[in-house]
């Protein structure tokens, strides 16, 4: 970035120190250490372009959920519904594309499918946001409810049997496609991270997101329409889930009814590992993108160590509680020291 005005040196150095001391850097460091460990343990197996790329593609959907969740959690709320909304949007998207030619459908069908997936996510976000803001039901309960509704609806509409009516062009050019040599799912996730990061850290809306999470009453008195901010946040989170649903269809060619049950939890862990406080007020999207890969790398490495991959769920659960505990202790220290 070039600017004409000179940067005062002291604040710049302080800002740099702050970045280096941040949770996101700690997470990135942890990730590098774990990756170095697996590279040493499995030379020529872990640190291959193919393995890393597959890993990134596998976790690109969770990154999309994580971007939305970062916004929600920065505003001191939860969204437990994104995993179920992802599957529900897969179902509606496949139904729409199935009616437009199924596997033989063209780009028109794909675009409609994308619109239906995004629309489903936005609708779910609107319902979540509206109930949280207007009915004043706590977000954890509202989204637990919509999780159940979306999951139930997905099973009711399919009878519990996966649908496969995904256009071949979508599988070939999006799920398996490449842009500039990079798999499309990675590019989509990277774009989402870039845009999300810009909005949360550089814009007025990002500022309002932090303010509502840190002290909602102060934000309200400052003239911020905190209800509108909250609904917009759930729309963002819902859109992320819808887009993740579309990308999942493109990759697997199936509604994958049973495959995303842990996505929500994994995304949540990524958000928390990435330095977003569970108590709101601070969050970074880039941190989330890094944080999401810690459970990813762990499960990848566990498979190579020929440990049952199910161990990752046990590890994820324990790490989640530990990270939140550390965040809590840090917060307590800061407020009492003031």
């Amino acid at each position: 970035m070039t600017t004409t005005r000179p940067t005062p040196p002291a604040p710049a150095r302080l800002a740099l120190r702050r970045v280096l001391a941040s949770q996101a850097m700690l997470t990135a460091g942890t990730l590098l250490v774990v990756m170095a460990l697996f590279t040493a343990l499995f030379p020529g197996k872990f640190a291959t372009l193919y393995n890393i790329q597959t890993l990134m593609v596998d976790y690109s959907g969770i990154v999309l959920l994580g971007v939305g969740l970062t916004f929600i959690m920065t505003s001191a709320r939860f969204d437990l519904s994104v995993g179920a909304v992802l599957v529900f949007s897969c179902v509606l998207g496949t139904k729409a594309m199935g009616a437009l030619g199924g596997a033989d459908g063209g780009w028109g069908a794909v675009l409609i499918g994308l619109a239906v997936c995004l629309g489903t996510g936005l609708l779910a976000g609107l319902v979540n946001g509206f109930l949280i803001v207007k009915a004043r039901v706590p977000s954890i309960i509202v989204t637990l409810g919509t999780l159940s509704v979306a999951q139930g609806a997905a099973y009711v509409l399919t009878g519990g049997v996966d649908l496969y009516a995904v256009p071949k062009v979508m599988l070939d050019h999006i799920g398996q496609g490449k842009v500039l040599g990079l798999p499309v799912p990675i590019v989509v996730a990277a774009l989402a991270v870039a845009i999300g990061s810009f909005v949360l850290s550089q814009t007025r809306f990002g500022q309002y997101t932090c303010a509502t999470g840190s002290n909602a009453e102060a934000a309200r008195r400052a003239g911020i329409n905190i209800d509108r901010v909250a609904i917009t946040l759930y729309l963002i989170s819902g859109a992320g889930a819808g887009l993740a649903g579309f990308m999942s269809l493109a990759r697997y060619g199936s509604t994958t009814l049973a495959a995303h049950q842990n996505d929500n939890l994994t995304a949540l862990l990524g958000v928390v590992l990435g330095g977003t406080s569970l108590f709101g007020g601070t969050g970074t999207v880039v941190g989330t993108a890094v944080g999401v890969f810690i459970p990813g790398v762990l499960s990848n490495g566990l498979v190579m160590m020929q440990v049952l991959p199910y161990w990752q769920y046990i590890i994820v659960g324990i790490v989640l509680i530990a990270v939140v505990y550390i965040d809590l202790v840090k917060r307590r220290g800061r407020t009492e020291g003031g």
Binding site: T203, A218, G223, G338
Partner: protein, 254 residues
């Protein structure tokens, strides 16, 4: 005071169910003065403050600003008139730095396309914050540190500076020294006088008689939802004001 009042409330009444918090309260603020609004607990001070800042709507009565009747339907109306409030809880966002707090809800955006995308001009906000701190003598070493790590006095400084930066006519301070030590309270006094010296009126709501007598030019007293006294500090004493507040004779007030 011969100048016409800056703000005047006339016969403000506010009922909460059977309770009459204000029963025809009058209150006057002259331009560029420090006026203390005193009253015992339950006298109606905070209700009157809320009416002036647009947080609540009175059932009866009138608010005149610069001689014109005004409707205060939200805190934004008060702001538009150049009235800022330092709330008792300070209403700061702890996870933001001082400039984020100073400009909360009134952010400066980048010029051009980036600004239209909602991008903040952090440098401009930071520079204006540092400039305001210097002008007001608010001592904060690291203006990019989060408020959460600051002392009570520093937080007070940030909240007062925010009100100062935006208030063109009047600053309302609700119990500004309630949570502060002696040294910090003295510093708030300095701030109040500096604000007044820039021609902005200060309304000081306080219990702290010592504090009021140090900085106020005038004192108005509420009792049971009505104004019972309006005195110039030079012509009164703590005993007399306490008597006004309690309704007891001077000898009975201790």
């Amino acid at each position: 005071m011969s100048a016409p009042p800056l703000l005047e409330t006339r016969g403000i009444t506010k009922r909460y169910g059977h309770v009459e918090a204000l029963r025809g309260a009058d209150f006057t603020v002259y331009p560029g003065e420090v006026v203390a609004l005193l009253g015992d607990n339950g006298a109606g001070k905070s209700t009157l403050v809320k009416a002036i800042t647009g947080t609540i709507q009175p059932d009866e009565g009138q608010i005149l600003f610069e001689g014109q009747p005004v409707q205060m339907t939200s805190p934004l109306d008060a702001r538009t008139l150049g009235i800022e409030t330092v709330f008792q809880d300070l209403a700061l966002v702890p996870d933001m730095d001082p400039s984020g707090n100073l400009f909360l809800g009134r952010e400066i955006l980048r010029p051009g396309l980036l600004g239209r995308l909602g991008m903040l001009d952090r440098r401009a906000m930071h520079e204006r914050t540092v400039e305001a701190f210097t002008r007001l003598g608010v001592n904060i070493q690291d203006a990019q540190a989060k408020v959460i790590g600051m002392s009570g006095g520093q937080r007070q400084g940030v909240a007062v500076a925010r009100a100062m930066v935006w208030a063109s006519k009047m600053v309302l301070m609700d119990e500004p020294t309630a949570a502060l030590g002696v040294v910090q309270s003295r510093h708030v006094n300095d701030l109040i006088l500096r604000v007044r010296d820039q021609g902005v009126a200060v309304v000081l709501v306080s219990h702290n008689m010592q504090h009021v007598f140090e900085v106020a030019d005038r004192i108005e007293v509420l009792r049971l939802g009505k104004r019972v006294a309006a005195r110039r500090k030079a012509d009164t004493s703590i005993e007399e004001v306490v008597a006004d507040m309690t309704g007891l004779s001077v000898t009975g007030a201790a």
